[in-house]
Amino acid sequence: MSYDLIVIGTGPGGYVCAIRAAQLGLKTAVVEKRKTHGGTCLNVGCIPSKALLHASHMFQDAQHFAEMGIGVSAPTLDLKKMLAFKQEGVEGNTKGVEFLLKKNKIDAFHGTARIAAAGQVEVTGEDGSNQMLETKNIVIATGSDVTRLPGIEIDEKVVVSSTGALELESVPKRLVVIGAGVIGLELGSVWRRLGSEVTVVEYLDRILPGMDGEVAKNFQRILSKQGFAFKLGAKVTKVEKTGNGATLTVEPAAGGNAETLEADVVLVAVGRVPYTQGLGLDKVGVQLDNRGRIQTDAHFSTNVTGIYAIGDVIAGPMLAHKAEDEGVAVAEILAGKAGHVNYDVIPSVVYTFPEVASVGKTEEELKAAGIAYNAGKFPFTANGRAKVNRTTDGFVKILADAATDKVLGVHIIGPEAGNLIHEAAIAMEFGASSEDMARTCHAHPTLAEAVKEAALAVEKRAIHM
């Protein structure tokens, strides 16, 4: 039997691609080496991290119930139960994917896939059994893996990756996070709320590299208020395990005297690398770029006819929704439709409290490109809803082209920022101006009014400021 499409990996890129292909009438199969579907995102990424962020936020919020006149005794932590709560969430979601694959009549094979040739996928099961599958097209969606630092061994107990940080057996007294990116700050937040002293060491002189500079600076201030300690412009040169912890050697990135940090747990969160191991790409001649990503053209095709790739394993932001959209697009292309991903409008969110969300260009990018823009900013301290909720940290910033008023970038720090960003994404998808956003009626009292006010502020006519 031969398939129209075999998708390798059932992360958000792969399973979404398979479902869309099946909807469009392609005979589709997936191969996944993990026991459960959903990839990094559902098993050890987005979903479990959000479950813990939610639970730990509740734990912290409960400490402020008294301010609202709710009398409860001080909350206590049952970490085991919290981790079980997280795991149930993960299972619910991975089961959901399994159900969706079935519902769409997609054959799911468990095992490690190797591309024997274009049109041929060999699946090796855990028990060593082998089978060869025939297909017209192959989509590689094998995702990414943790980036390791030379000389620093990850044991997932004392020195952990994000995966280990999602199931620490106890709350570490001192947690050192290497890397001030999204994952490091999110998981740092979880353990900070549950009681750890958290120190973040970052090689660059700023947190959240790539995000808007002003946003990053403000966010760092907010996290510092929450008890985070930052060592920026510093590199970890050594991690030595001691009795039941580790000693880190940290040097200024620019050179200078080394110092040491003591930690009970070290989280290595310095990024992720594309994962292509065992696929046999060199054999079939699929080209990688200089960063190990599979090279694709505008239609997600590799240099080998019939082999496509999407998600974390190709260029672009390593985000689940980017992988999903690419999955849909490539399925549509294979079905003879016009699949397309608009890379200019991909939102990204940091799910801390407050959240940080952005879509489009940062001020730094606009300056570098020599584009004249107007910025409109509105703080949550001036938003009625945020005020009564006492969640006034943060602001909304809208960047619009100086000549055409077209919205070029929106950056939000604040409660619900991850939900608020999407009106900006839709506006940008349709080429809207800041005035279009400002003239769209927003319900009162909502946090979204801050978005509208920031849009008004672009033309210097915010009402509540």
Partner: protein, 411 residues
């Protein structure tokens, strides 16, 4: 079902057109591919044909309005002429009577596809404030929607009738008795462009003109001798333009600066010879371009030019046919000009003026003889063409025309 009539693609570098006039009124029956209106661009006037048969519905862009490629001009409603409007006037009784033309319109307006109407609030405000109809603006947003930026650009470039042209009308008012006897007419797009281009050329180039004269005896003899066989064989008349074009190309090859152009601090030498031939039409001068004229025979050039001339007068030249010239020839002689100083066709660096042929006494071998003479003028951009080159250029043209054997022998 309504079918939209849209502005066709106008060719590179042409971003807007003016509605010349509608040939049909709303309610008129139209057949598919029948011309329904005329568009004027700064290069040509072109007709827009009906995309479908039916009845002309609403006219969105009125005569004189400026529109961009892709903009909606109007719509055609399905159904024959008489059918639609017939019922309404009767039922609506006396009061509705004076405006029967309007009756077929409402349906297409309401049913027009969403995209054209779904403007954001900023576009709606600008439309209300400026009077510019978004339907006449080419949209750059998703699925061709008009964005605020598109509207601002349309308003800035005079899409708005109100604010933009004002500063140009600086003329002191005439005395009332005279004012009554003046007529104010909007310049056509073509005329406005001609005006702007000519002035730009004068403001940019260091332009001056050099003259010479040419004895046309040899060319005229050649022509008299071969014109019948030539016409029989090639189906086109043997004129002078073929000779002039060939002579010019030979001179351009020797003096490449005349075929070059200035781009910032660079000189762009063009190793191809696209010769523009100025053709007068009722609406103004147009300059179709004989592409790679150096690769054409005299017959090929004559045929191309004859065809251009015919189509220019009918307004049927395509915009691409008027782009990319490297040198221009203009013949004022057909109107009787003795001498002129043509203005460059920017960014070109040379233009040859031909004039009337007239029998004049000239001295040959110490004898006064009568010869058919023509004055030649070369206007050139002194920034890249030196006086010596310009003069040599004209001398070469003259030599080739006085002794056409040089053209054959490449001398």
């Amino acid at each position: 079902m309504a079918t939209e009539i849209r502005v066709p693609t106008l060719g590179e570098s042409v971003s807007e057109a003016t509605i010349g006039r509608w040939f049909k009124k709303p309610g008129d029956p139209v057949k598919a591919d029948e011309p329904v209106l005329e568009l004027e661009t700064d290069k040509v006037t072109l007709e827009v044909n009906a995309p479908a048969s039916g009845t002309l519905g609403e006219i969105v862009a009125k005569d004189g309005e400026t529109v961009s490629p892709g903009a909606v001009l109007g719509s055609i409603v399905e159904g024959g002429a008489g059918a639609a409007p017939a019922a309404a006037p009767k039922a609506e009784a006396p009061k509705a009577a004076p405006a029967p033309a309007a009756t077929p319109a409402p349906v297409p307006t309401a049913a027009a596809p969403g995209a054209a109407k779904d403007h954001g609030p900023a576009v709606a405000r600008l439309a209300a404030e400026s009077g510019v109809n978004p339907a006449s603006v080419g949209g750059t947003g998703k699925d061709g929607r008009v964005t605020k930026g598109d509207m601002l650009a349309a308003i800035a470039t005079g899409g708005a009738s109100a604010p933009a042209p004002a500063p140009m009308q600086m003329r002191a008012p005439s005395a009332p008795v005279d004012a009554e006897r003046e007529e104010r007419v909007k310049m056509t797009k073509l005329r406005q462009t001609i005006a702007r281009r000519l002035k730009d050329a004068q403001n940019t180039a260091a332009m001056l003109t050099t003259f010479n004269d040419v004895d046309m005896s040899a060319v005229m003899n050649l022509r008299n001798q071969y014109k019948d066989v030539f016409e029989k064989k090639h189906g086109t008349k043997l004129g002078f333009m073929g000779f002039f074009t060939k002579a010019v190309i030979q001179a351009l090859k020797e003096l490449p600066a005349v075929n070059a152009e200035i781009d910032g601090t660079d000189i762009v030498y063009k190793n191809y010879y696209h010769i523009g031939i100025a053709v007068g039409t009722e609406k103004g001068l147009v300059v179709p371009v004989v592409r790679d004229a150096d690769l054409l025979s005299v017959a090929g050039i004559e045929k191309t030019i004859a065809d251009f001339g015919r189509r220019a007068r009918d307004g049927k030249l395509a915009i691409e046919e008027m782009q990319g010239g490297t040198f221009t020839i203009t013949n004022g002689g057909i109107y009787g000009s003795l001498m002129s100083t043509p203005i460059l066709n920017a960014p070109q660096s040379g233009i040859l003026g031909m004039h009337r042929i007239e029998e004049r006494p000239v001295v040959r071998n110490g004898q006064v003889v009568v010869r058919p003479m023509m004055y030649l003028a070369l206007s050139y951009d002194h920034r890249i063409v030196d006086g010596k080159e310009a003069v040599t250029f004209l001398v070469r043209v003259k030599e080739a025309l006085e002794d056409p054997a040089r053209l054959v022998l490449d001398l």
